[in-house]
């Protein structure tokens, strides 16, 4: 029993990270109709940036995380302006996907150049330690990961449904042309969406690095996991991104207990492909999205 609970806990923690990545992808998708595969790359880039910053300045990991979040929020707005927007103005969705694949590769290459091919980890956020509840060992960092996801979801929901800016964002997501006719500066809304996704990538990277090892080659698994979670949940749906992420993490953890971790991945992804075939719009998506 405790054994199973332990698996569920660690699976859900992995799932929280996937959910954060998927949340960023979904937000960007609903505003700009671009699937940003590079989101997985930004997570690792943020994590390794945090490691180096922490080592060189000796600041507390929380302070480091805050700095990295701000830097990435600004950085992704820049990435949108320099890379994604020019691409989206010219390219079809298929080619746009490859633009972000290129971006993902470039980030991986940059990581390889700057940090080499060694895996990195970081000091956990205070208070460090391990709690034991009902025989299940819970790393204190897990609370930070879950908390960050919860905070992101609540903040995003409040932004979208309780503020005027959120209303404008939802209008842009629903019908960009109509929003533009009503005087919405959709390019500015794009920048905000990318900034938020950058902040989420940074949050995911900086909170997960203390409990794992990351290196240049981990960009692809994170990108794939985020993409799977976002699409399985139904593109453009916040609840779907979170549900998809948690489901993916849980499936992987449960199956890797009884099979090898590789076969767990096969079953998790196989299950999600099967879901797509049965419900092509994902768990929470709208069917009309698929029939474009």
């Amino acid at each position: 029993m405790t054994d199973t609970l332990q698996i569920v806990v660690s699976g859900l923690v992995d799932g929280c990270v996937y959910a954060l990545i998927a949340l960023g992808m979904t937000l960007v998708y609903s505003i700009s109709r671009v699937i940003n595969l590079a989101q997985g790359g930004f997570v690792v880039l943020a994590a390794l940036t945090a490691v180096s910053l922490q080592q060189h300045t000796g600041l507390s990991p929380i302070a480091v995380a805050a700095i990295v979040v701000v830097v990435f929020a600004a950085g992704l707005a820049l990435v949108d302006r320099v890379v994604v927007l020019p691409g989206a103005r010219r390219a079809t969705p298929d080619r746009m996907l490859l633009v972000t694949v290129g971006l993902l590769q470039a980030i991986g290459g940059f990581l390889l150049l700057v940090w080499g091919n060694l895996p990195y980890t970081m000091r956990p956020f205070p208070p460090a330690g391990t709690a034991v509840a009902g025989g299940v060992r819970i790393n204190s960092q897990y609370f930070w990961i879950v908390g960050v996801l919860a905070l992101s979801v609540v903040a995003l929901w409040a932004l979208l449904h309780r503020t005027r800016l959120g209303l404008v964002m939802r209008a842009t997501a629903g019908n960009p042309e109509a929003a533009e006719l009503l005087g919405v500066n959709t390019d500015r809304i794009r920048l905000i969406a990318f900034s938020l996704s950058g902040a989420m990538a940074a949050l995911a990277g900086t909170t997960v690095i203390p409990v794992t090892f990351l290196q240049f080659s981990t960009v692809t698994p994170y990108a794939v996991a985020g993409f799977v979670a976002a699409v399985a949940g139904g593109l453009g749906s916040t609840a779907g991104a979170v549900g998809g992420g948690l489901a993916l993490g849980l499936l992987q953890a449960v199956f890797s207990r009884y099979l090898s971790s590789q076969l767990a991945e096969v079953i998790a992804i196989g299950a999600l492909i099967a879901l797509l075939l049965v419900r092509p719009s994902g768990m929470f998506g709208k069917v009309s999205e698929v029939r474009r």
Binding site: T92, D94, A106, V231
Partner: protein
């Protein structure tokens, strides 16, 4: 990629028809490809012969690079096949490594464990890949756009995971070793140069096949499917069948390439058919330019050649490849080769 070319005459578009059926191109089609088709048909064979002669002499010109050329040839095959599916029919597949793995691991196991002749193993696995593609194609190709991309990316992830997960069968992460070399009759294809000439023949045959499809009626039907599937269906084109056929053809190309790769390397490991490889195959097609023969070759050459350009440069390769992909995808929709061709055509028409 989705430039809509109206078929000259929509008569009898169903059925495979004769690939090279002469059909007068519409006179109003402007300076785009359809008008040049008649000229191309005269010029193509003439251009293919010198290209083949150069390719045949290449190992003597650059003796140190033959190994690289072999790998380029293998990826050229995979990308040629993908060109039918993605370039012509407009269906993105990020999972071609599944079929490379089927060809590679399948042929490796059949020869290693069951001592089958290498050519028979290659052919059997090509057939098996075609069957798998036919089965997957009817279900997966119902998905569109990002959803299809995700499903096929899933195939790539599953392929890599299975290759390292099924340790008893595949040798796990360290791979399948001591695979024999390719045997053709009594000839053991062992050296780089021998492998290169085998690939030259296979690639030339593949390129000839793809060129015929591109110019023939099947190619026009596939183009119609890519441009507007409902409109193509209204013209009487069985879109699902054409998409599946393109998928099957691309699978056979990838499977044969995978088998030849295994026989050349004499081992196969999960790295050889990893997700990164799956992505790079798509990149090669996009980079070189779809809908041509030279485009895939150029793409394979650039992407495989970059890491060889020097030890210090190999560190920079992923970054540079990524940036090149972004720039080409954003500003040169027809890829490097397509852009070069368009530039030449424009110069010729103005002068």
């Amino acid at each position: 990629m989705s430039s809509i070319r109206t078929p000259g005459r929509p008569g009898a578009p169903d059925g495979q028809g004769t690939p090279g059926r002469p059909e007068a191109p519409p006179a109003t089609a402007g300076a785009r490809a359809p008008a040049g088709r008649g000229v191309d048909r005269l010029r193509r064979p003439a251009a293919a012969v010198p290209a083949l002669v150069v390719a045949a002499l290449l190992p003597f010109a650059v003796p140190g690079w033959v190994g690289l050329l072999v790998v380029v040839g293998i990826f050229f095959l995979v990308v040629l096949g993908l060109g039918l599916l993605t370039g012509l029919a407009g269906q993105v597949s990020l999972g071609q490594t599944l079929f490379m793995a089927l060809g590679g691991y399948g042929a490796g196991l059949l020869t290693l464990r069951l001592h089958w002749p290498t050519t028979l193993a290659t052919a059997v696995m090509a057939l098996a890949s075609a069957l798998v593609a036919a089965g997957l194609g009817t279900t997966l190709l119902r998905l569109r756009g990002y959803y299809l991309a995700l499903a096929t990316l899933g195939l790539a992830v599953i392929t890599e995971a299975l290759a390292s997960g099924l340790g008893d069968l595949t040798g796990g992460p360290s791979g399948l070793v001591a695979v024999p070399s390719l045997q053709l009759g009594g000839w053991t294809v062992f050296t780089d140069r021998a492998n290169y000439y085998v690939l030259l023949v296979v690639c030339a045959a593949g390129a000839w096949f793809v060129a015929n499809i591109q110019r023939g009626q099947t190619g026009r039907a596939l183009t119609a499917v890519a441009a507007d599937a409902p409109a193509a269906a209204m013209l009487g084109i069985d879109t699902a069948a054409y998409k599946t056929r393109a998928f099957v053809a691309s699978a056979v190309f990838a499977s044969v390439a995978g088998s030849l790769y295994t026989f050349y390397l004499r081992f196969i490991s999960p790295d050889v058919i990893g997700v990164t490889v799956a992505l790079s195959v798509v990149i090669m097609l996009a980079l070189g330019g779809p809908r041509t023969i030279a485009g895939p070759l150029l793409g394979a050459l650039v992407l495989q050649g970059l890491p060889q350009a020097g030890q210090t440069f190999s560190q920079w390769e992923p970054l540079v490849a990524g940036l090149v992909l972004i720039v080409v995808m954003t500003y040169f929709p027809r890829g490097l080769w397509g852009t070069a061709k368009a530039l030449v055509a424009r110069r010729r028409s103005t002068s």
